[in-house]
């Protein structure tokens, strides 16, 4: 009996040893690759561009964006993205970063809103748009800070709840709402991992990594683009840039992701 028992033990040890040593390197080579890409992210090249654009006198009014108020006072950028979206008395609206950028580009610089919206999302493989570079630069000024969206104005409460409603609203021939793809852990479409957004950690990953370098597009992409692209895949009509629907969703996302440390640019496939 003791012999048989020790024989079993030896077998067990062998099995365990083999299992433990099977993968010589990391057992998640994709993670290794992603880490490399995250450490040397081409998106960073657009931060300088955004900074230049921010201070440059541009548009029919030949003015810079230095007086743009993102909620902390004119020109105050440190921590600005971290508290967006929020209510703005001058426009009587809840606005996210990109819609506020559009407001300033129109009011301070005299650009035409439709022109901005038309070029905001740049073609893949291009040099990127001014909006993309600016959104990245301004958000980079919140790097290292925690997402800190607060709800106090009634419109902020309204936007949050509307965003939640939209997150779960199923429609179209796919019967999809956001939750169909983003409601469970460890899910993926083909080889693209899906963030688990009914989970705090998942939401935090989402809200802390946009704007991001989209590898396959070779440009920086923003949250407005990300939402638009989801609706495209869902076979639904096109989401209007910086619309209330988009801001409602972003309000819901950012508030749910509160507490996460912002780190942009993110790196997406």
């Amino acid at each position: 009996m003791p012999v048989a028992r020790s024989g079993n033990v030896v077998l067990a040890v062998v099995c365990v040893a083999t299992w433990g040593t099977a993968p010589a390197q990391s057992d998640d080579p994709l993670a290794v690759g992603r880490k490399m890409l995250a450490e040397d992210n081409p998106g960073e090249l657009w931060i300088e561009q955004g900074k230049t654009l921010f201070h440059q006198k541009r548009g029919p009014k030949n003015a810079s964006l230095e007086q743009c108020n993102f909620g902390l006072g004119p020109g105050k950028l440190d921590g600005a993205t971290a508290q967006l979206p929020r209510y703005f008395p001058d426009t009587d609206r809840v606005q996210d970063l990109e819609s506020r950028l559009v407001t300033c580009m129109v009011q301070l610089q005299g650009f035409n809103r439709d022109d901005i919206v038309k070029r905001a999302i740049s073609p893949a493989g291009s040099n990127g748009s001014d909006v993309e570079a600016l959104a990245l630069y301004i958000t980079s000024r919140s790097n290292g800070m925690k997402m800190n969206v607060s709800l106090s104005h009634q419109k902020e409460y309204d936007m949050y709840k509307a965003g939640e409603y939209l997150f779960y609203r199923r429609s179209g021939q796919t019967d999809f709402a956001c939750v169909q793809c983003h409601g469970e852990a460890n899910k993926r479409i083909r080889l693209q991992d899906l963030v688990h957004m009914t989970d705090k950690k998942g939401m935090q990953e989402v809200v802390s990594t946009w704007p991001a370098y989209r590898g396959g597009h070779f440009v920086v992409r923003t949250m407005q683009w990300r939402l638009y692209d989801c609706f495209w895949q869902m076979r639904l009509p096109e989401l209007k840039y910086a619309s209330d629907a988009s801001i409602a969703l972003i309000t819901y996302l950012h508030y749910q992701g509160n507490g996460v440390v912002i780190k942009v640019p993110g790196f997406k496939r």
Binding site: L151, G172, A177, N186, R235, A245
Partner: protein, 212 residues
């Protein structure tokens, strides 16, 4: 000092009032606010395509916030509506050509709206590979839905299985009310003939799905 205190109180009172009044809107108000956004904040090449955002009764029931549960009545209604929606191919043949189904199952394109245009191809892709594992050994497959590898091996290819499979693809909600799976036939994303090809792809012993 007292003056400063008074000023603080005066400033604080409106702030307190503002904070006190602001609250989460109730579900009916939320719905009103959000549906207004849905009606105003999207574009499509034609009004007909804009209608994709309209919800049918089942979608309304199945849009539940958080982990709100379906009631028995709601589930029964969704199943009833789903069953009633099922249409079969005109030929009566529920099992088509698995080779055509193979192509369809791996096709994730078709019918999307971008830049004011509709992506119209010969036919809409089945989208299956996006969410389901199919033939064994394929790496580039999703896992949002259960694996379909060996589907026919496990169930056989009887008429009953063909009918069940056809119906589950045509309208998954007839079996699983509010399932994450699109009601591909009922929403007209796929035609009955296309679904018959997918049925063959799943149950035909010669199909790659059933390769040992």
């Amino acid at each position: 000092m007292r003056k400063a205190g008074l000023r603080w109180v005066v400033a604080g009172v409106p702030a307190l009032i503002a904070v006190g009044c602001a609250t989460f809107p109730d579900p009916a108000t939320t719905r009103q606010i959000a549906e207004k956004m849905v009606s105003e904040d999207f574009t499509a090449p034609t009004p007909a395509l804009l209608k994709r955002l309209e919800q049918d009764r089942s979608q309304r029931i199945c849009s539940r916030i958080g982990d709100a549960k379906l009631t028995q009545e709601e589930a029964a209604e969704v199943v009833r509506l789903a069953r009633a929606s099922i249409q079969y191919p005109a030929s009566g043949k529920l099992v088509g050509d698995w080779k055509a189904g193979n192509t369809l199952a791996h096709d994730g394109a078709g019918d999307r709206l971008q830049g004011g245009r509709l992506e119209k191809r010969k036919e809409n892709g089945g989208l299956c590979q996006n969410c389901h594992a199919l033939a064994p050994g394929e790496i580039n497959v999703g896992n949002v839905g259960p694996s379909l590898t060996g589907y026919g091996l496990q169930r056989g290819n009887s008429e009953a299985i063909a009918k069940l499979t056809y119906e589950r693809i045509y309208n998954a909600w007839a079996y699983f009310p509010c399932s994450n799976m699109p009601r591909l036939g009922a929403t007209r994303h796929l035609t009955p003939e296309q679904i018959a090809h997918l049925v063959a792809f799943l149950i035909d012993p010669a199909s790659p799905v059933n390769k040992r």
